[in-house]
C-alpha cells in the first residue's frame, strides 16, 4: 500500500490533550483530493493571464472553464468512487471542479479504507478535534488517483498572540 503523505508530520503538538480512541461507530468526514488533469496547462495559463506583457494578460477564466481544464479523468473518478463504494461509502459531496470529494463514514470504515490510520479525539482550549495518530496508506490501485486525504493529520492553527509582541530579540 502507498503512503500518499509519507513526509507529513503526524505528531500531535503537546498543547492538544488526547481524550481517547474514537468510537468505531462515530461518524467522520474526510476530504479526498482527486488527481487533476492538465495542471501544467493551468500553470501556463496562469503565467499568461498574470504577465502584463502577455497578449492574454487579464483574460481570466470562469470557474466552469477552470473545471473543464482540471477535472479529474473519467478513470480517476471511476476508480475512486468504486473504492469508496466497495467500503460502503456513498454519502459524498463533490465540488464544481469535481477534484474534491467530501465523504461521511464511520471511524471503523475509515480505518479499514485507509490502512494504518487510528483515530483519536484531542482537545485544546475547549475545541475538540479528531485526527489519526499514525500515518495512513491507500491501496496501490487507488494511490495514483489521489493527491491526499484531508482530515487525518493537519491541525487547526493556533492564533498568533497578537496583543503581546514577542520580546525584542537582541539582533532586532
Amino acid at each position: 500500500s502507498g503512503y500518499l503523505e509519507y513526509d507529513q508530520d503526524v505528531l500531535i503538538p503537546q498543547d492538544w490533550t488526547r481524550v481517547g480512541r474514537v468510537d468505531p461507530t462515530e461518524e467522520l468526514e474526510l476530504t479526498f483530493a482527486l488527481k487533476q488533469q492538465n495542471v501544467h496547462l493551468l500553470e501556463e495559463k496562469l503565467k499568461l493571464v498574470s504577465d502584463p506583457d502577455s497578449a492574454q494578460y487579464g483574460k481570466h477564466l470562469s470557474l466552469e472553464e477552470v473545471a473543464s481544464l482540471v477535472r479529474p479523468s473519467e478513470l480517476t473518478q471511476k476508480v475512486v468512487r468504486h473504492w469508496l463504494h466497495s467500503h460502503g461509502i456513498t454519502n459524498c459531496l463533490t465540488v464544481r471542479t469535481q477534484d474534491f470529494l467530501q465523504c461521511k463514514m464511520t471511524a471503523e470504515i475509515a480505518e479499514t479504507l485507509l490502512p494504518g490510520s487510528r483515530f483519536h479525539r484531542y482537545v485544546r482550549d475547549g475545541h475538540s478535534i479528531v485526527r489519526s495518530s499514525a500515518p495512513y496508506s491507500v491501496y496501490d490501485d487507488v494511490h495514483q488517483h489521489l493527491d491526499f486525504v484531508g482530515g487525518l493529520h493537519r491541525l487547526p492553527p493556533k492564533g498568533q498572540d497578537l496583543s503581546k509582541k514577542p520580546q525584542q530579540s537582541q539582533a532586532g
Binding site: V39, K45, L46, R96, P166, S169
Partner: protein, 367 residues
C-alpha cells in the same frame, strides 16, 4: 504625534485621500479566518464610529460564509475585518469563517474546497494562516499550490501573511537552520511582510518589523518572475548574509511586499485594544488597497489584478516605499545570534519591495 496605528494613520502614511474609497459596483473583498474566531458586527460598527470619521466607509460586512458563532470575538478576526474595510473603504466585504466545522475537517482545506465550489467570489482574499513547511507533506503543498493557481487564473488575488517569527528557526542539534512557512512560501500567492515606523509615535518612514516572516522555501524553486530581484539582493548583501547553511537560495523567496504591522488599535468585544501587532494586520491593509485598485480598473472595464506577483516584480519597486533599514529575528544561537535577513535597497526577504504608496501604485496598475 500618534499613540498607535489607526485607519487615519495608515491613510496618511500610504497617501490615501478621503476620495480614495470604493464604489459598491461589482467589486468585493474578503478575509478568511481559520482560528475558530468570530468577529462581532457591533465591534466593527464601534470601530468605524471611533476611527472612520475621515473617510466614507461601510460599517457592516456584506456576507459571512460559514457559521458565525456567538462566542467571544477573536482579536485576529476583528483586526482582519476592521482594517481591510479601512483601506478598502466602502467596498463590500465578506468573511469566510468556519467554527461550525466537523471535528475531522481541516479549516484551511475546507476554505480551499469552498473556492472550488463558488463561482461568485470576491476578487481579493487576505488570509493569516501558516504552518512550518517541514511539518506538511509535499503532496499536500503541491495540491494546495494547484488550488492557488485555479484561483489566480480566475482573476482572484490571494494575499497571505508572511508570519510573525522572522526567518523562523529549526533546531537540529548542532546546526540550526531557518524555517520557512507555507502558504507564505507558495510561488502562486502574494505574501505580505511587516514594518514599523522608525519613530513609533510619529508618521515617519518605515523600518522592518523584526517579527516579519521571510526567507527562502525549501520545497519550491524560485519562480522566474523574482529571479533577478533576488539575485540583486544576494549580491548587494553578500558580505553580511547569514551562513549559507541556514537557508536555500534556490527556493522561492518571500515576502513580496509589506505594510505596517506594529501597534494597531483594534475594537474587540466592544473594547478598544492598543498595541496589537503582527503580519495579520499588514495583510488586510494591503488587500484593501488592491481592492480599491480593482474597483478603479473595473470602472474602466479592465480585468481585475488576479495573481499580482509577475506584475508587481515588473514594477521593480516603483510605486512602493522601499524599506532599507532593520532586520528580522531568527535562531538564537552563536552563529546568527537571533538575526535573520536584513532589509536592503530594492527587494529583500524581510519586506519584499516595500510598502504601498497608493496613488503611485494606482497609477502603475491602472494602465
Amino acid at each position: 504625534v500618534h499613540l498607535g496605528v489607526t485607519p487615519a494613520i495608515l491613510r496618511a502614511r500610504y497617501n490615501l485621500t478621503a476620495s480614495d474609497v470604493g464604489s459598491t459596483q461589482n467589486n468585493s473583498q474578503a478575509v478568511a479566518q481559520f482560528l475558530e474566531q468570530y468577529y462581532h458586527p457591533a465591534d466593527l460598527a464601534e470601530f468605524m464610529n471611533m476611527f472612520g470619521g475621515t473617510f466614507q466607509h461601510l460599517s457592516q460586512v456584506d456576507r459571512v460564509v460559514g457559521t458565525q458563532g456567538t462566542g467571544k470575538a477573536g482579536l485576529e478576526a476583528s483586526l482582519d475585518v476592521e482594517y481591510i474595510m479601512s483601506t478598502g473603504a466602502n467596498i463590500p466585504t465578506w468573511v469566510f469563517t468556519n467554527p461550525g466545522r466537523h471535528e475531522t475537517q481541516e479549516p484551511f482545506l475546507q476554505w480551499m474546497v469552498l473556492l472550488s465550489n463558488m463561482s461568485d467570489l470576491p476578487w481579493v482574499h487576505t488570509i493569516s494562516y501558516g504552518d512550518d513547511e517541514d511539518s506538511l507533506s509535499t503532496a499536500y503543498m503541491m495540491r494546495i499550490n494547484t488550488e492557488f493557481m485555479k484561483a489566480g487564473v480566475r482573476g482572484i488575488s490571494l494575499l497571505f501573511a508572511s508570519g510573525d517569527s522572522g526567518a523562523g528557526c529549526k533546531h537540529m542539534g548542532k546546526q540550526n537552520s531557518f524555517r520557512p512557512s507555507f502558504p507564505a512560501s507558495s510561488p502562486y500567492v502574494t505574501t505580505v511582510g511587516g514594518t514599523s515606523f522608525k519613530n513609533p509615535f510619529k508618521v515617519t518612514y518605515e523600518v522592518t518589523d523584526y517579527i516579519s516572516g521571510g526567507g527562502f522555501s525549501n520545497v519550491f524553486g524560485m519562480p522566474d518572475y523574482q529571479a533577478s530581484a533576488v539575485k540583486g539582493y544576494l549580491k548587494t548583501v553578500e558580505a553580511t548574509l547569514p551562513p549559507p547553511s541556514y537557508f536555500n537560495t534556490s527556493g522561492r523567496a518571500y515576502p513580496d511586499m509589506a505594510a505596517l504591522s506594529d501597534n494597531y488599535w483594534v475594537v474587540s468585544n466592544r473594547v478598544p485594544i492598543p498595541w496589537v501587532s503582527g503580519t495579520s494586520a499588514s495583510t488586510p491593509v494591503v488587500g484593501g488597497m488592491l481592492s480599491l485598485i480593482n474597483g478603479r480598473r473595473l470602472q474602466r472595464s479592465l480585468p481585475t489584478l488576479g495573481f499580482l506577483n509577475p506584475r508587481l516584480y515588473k514594477l521593480k519597486g516603483q510605486a512602493l516605499f522601499d524599506v532599507t533599514e532593520g532586520c528580522h529575528e531568527s535562531c538564537l544561537d552563536e552563529q546568527v545570534q537571533g538575526k535573520g535577513f536584513c532589509a536592503a535597497p530594492s527587494w529583500d526577504p524581510v519586506t519584499g519591495w516595500g510598502t504601498p504608496n497608493y496613488p503611485e501604485l494606482l497609477a502603475a496598475l491602472l494602465d
